[in-house]
Amino acid sequence: MDQFPLTRASLLFRLRDRRDSLAWSEFVEVYAPLVYQYARNHGVQDADAADVTQEVLRTCSHNLQKFQYDRNRGKFRSWLFTVVRTRLSNYRKSQYRHPQGRGDSEFSKHLEQFPAPMEDEEEQWVHEYQMRLFQWAATRIRSEFRRKTWRAFELTALEGKAPKDVAERLKMSVGAVYVAKTRVLKRIRTCVEKIDAESLEDFQ
């Protein structure tokens, strides 16, 4: 029935409403660093990477509002990857047309910084995409927890310490350490889910 089986609360859904400026700025906060870093990792300098980022995000805004991103055709992140790749290749072409007074040899060196697309390129993108989502979610919800709770989570979930040792170290009960860990994780998941529920499907 609904062509967008996204929950009402999800960010992509909210972006369809142009007046929801909060959704948009959240979208920018999550995705701009991802796109920008991706461009930088592909040899694009600050100013140009910022331009590419702007173009990509504007394309997103445009298409999301016009319902041109159709979930049936694939996951949002794959669609986004296509947009990023297209923009990057347009950028490369424009560089070729306006090589900014570079000497030829220098320019060919410049071209070498853009390797041809490889098969695992999308895989790499998905990985970076997922990391960005979790990174954003973790930063975002961190202040909701007491320091001790967060520390218990960090030590158990991220540093792999045994709950018993952590309990001793933080002077908490073992039960409390378990609860701290699961609560933070649960919260991170909820947060990621609101941005892009599809990405959680990978982990089911």
Binding site: V28, Q37, R40, R189
Partner: protein, 441 residues
């Protein structure tokens, strides 16, 4: 009640994770999990898959990357684009009332105009008034305009006082004090124009989960002390030193103190009408709370509370109501810092304790004296070596030339009657109530 030997059901575990249970039930469940490996294993299983944890782990370890200046500009530009698509900036009815004094502007990007200032947005509101981000077309500069709540200064005398105080504050020129461009009146509204500082307040920083490390505490503390000292030597007392009034400038290690002397502006008339009092209970000095003689040493006490909050993450004197807070400020010692943060060195604990002396005579002689101590220790952290002999953690009092205070900073005694005290307490309750509805300014 859940018996200790009952294992948790999945449903209960979900509820526990989502924080939906009463404290009582929660405690019982945690006690059970404490001793039940089966439930512990189930929790692990429910909380997250291994793959998800791996991504999370990598994402926290991963270098956040390098972001050039163009990136931040692009972010700002992009974020602004959604409001551009709208015809006008939409305001709620409450905001409309608050900002009713603005003149309309044809530019849809603007909230409106205030005199020559083009107002972009309201960046804060508090009991004192509202804070606007605006552009001054004459200087072509982004400024912050603070418009005093008209209820606070209903009389011409009160407004005169605001202007006088603001002028005194404008005379302070110091790196760590926000620069005031001017103060004026327009349509019966008093307002103040100052530098716009992009960044966050120390209050926001303290609320972040990442605690401040010692170097940060010393760097921020030292700059606050320097700014306060500069004001004191010009005869201006701040009266409301608290983390919310300290701005941390984006990307710079620079700290700016705002709202110098403004706390005093709110006089009796304003007080009775708005329930606002000068100062913030959690950071007030005992003499301020009791309406006794207030001089520059009151700022030293509040500065002690600020350092305390940076070290422990919370203000030293807390309570459910303002009255309870004030009672603690006046009669009690705060929880020892080492109970809350054992990493704070003894010398700093001693400095804070001395700033927190109930009797102003027992505190440091000047903010500058404290700045010196903080600077010395900061240097020691940054360049470990024999800067000063170990053990000389507390300064030799009097080693610094005693500075003569200008007459203006000393004591203004106010009549201390029972009625005034009663009023004060009543207004505190009102303020407490109001604060719950007001956004942070």
């Amino acid at each position: 009640m859940i018996a200790r030997w009952d294992c948790l059901e999945v449903q209960q575990m979900e509820e526990l994770m989502e924080n939906q249970l009463s404290r009582e039930t929660e405690r019982h469940l945690i006690d059970h999990i404490d001793e039940c490996p089966k439930c512990q294993a189930l929790m692990e299983k429910l909380s997250a898959g291994c793959k998800e944890l791996a991504v999370l782990k990598q994402s926290t370890e991963q270098d956040t990357g390098t972001y050039g200046p163009a990136f931040f500009q692009a972010m700002e530009r992009l974020k602004g684009e959604s409001s551009e698509q709208e015809i006008t900036v939409q305001l709620g009815p409450e905001e409309k009332e608050l900002l009713g004094f603005l003149q309309e502007s044809r530019n849809p990007e603007l909230l409106g105009r205030f005199g020559r200032y083009e107002v972009f947005e309201m960046i804060g509101r508090g009991g004192m008034g509202i804070l606007l981000k605006a552009r001054d077309p004459l200087l072509d500069a982004i400024v912050a305009v603070k418009v005093l709540n008209p209820h606070l200064a209903p009389s011409a005398t009160a407004r005169m006082r605001f202007i006088r105080e603001a002028r005194a504050a404008a005379a302070i020129t110091h790196n760590n004090v926000i620069r005031i461009h001017g103060v004026a009146e327009r349509d019966g509204l008093s307002y103040l124009v100052m530098d716009f500082i992009p960044g966050k307040s120390l209050e926001e920083r303290i609320l972040e989960a990442e605690p401040l490390n010692l170097a940060e505490i010393l760097r921020i503390g030292m700059q606050v002390a320097l700014g306060v000292d500069a004001a004191h030597s010009q005869g201006v007392i701040h009266r409301d030193i608290k983390p919310g009034n300290i701005l941390l400038e984006n990307g710079l290690d620079r700290v700016k103190i705002t709202d110098f002397g403004l706390a005093q502006v709110v006089d009796e008339e304003g007080l009775t009408q708005s329930g606002l009092i000068a100062g913030t209970p959690g950071y007030m000095s005992p003499e301020q709370a009791q309406e006794e003689t207030v001089d520059y040493r009151s700022d030293l006490f509040s500065f002690g509370s600020l350092l305390y909050a940076m070290c422990t993450g919370a203000p030293p004197f807390r309570g459910k109501t303002s009255i309870a807070v004030i009672r603690r400020v006046c009669d009690e010692e705060p929880t020892p810092i080492h109970n809350l943060n054992p990493t704070i060195p003894d010398w700093l604990v001693d400095v804070i304790a001395r700033l927190h002396r109930k009797n102003p005579d027992d505190r440091f002689k000047s903010a500058g004296e404290v700045a010196d101590i903080l600077r010395r220790h900061l240097a020691k952290i940054q360049h470990p070596g024999p800067v000063s002999p170990p053990g000389s953690s507390l300064p030799e009092i009097g080693s610094r030339k005693k500075r003569k205070r200008p007459a203006g900073t000393k004591a203004e005694r106010k009549p201390n009657s029972r009625i005034r005290q009663w009023w004060r307490r009543a207004t505190l309750i009102v303020r407490d109530f109001l604060n719950r509805f007001q956004a942070k300014s």
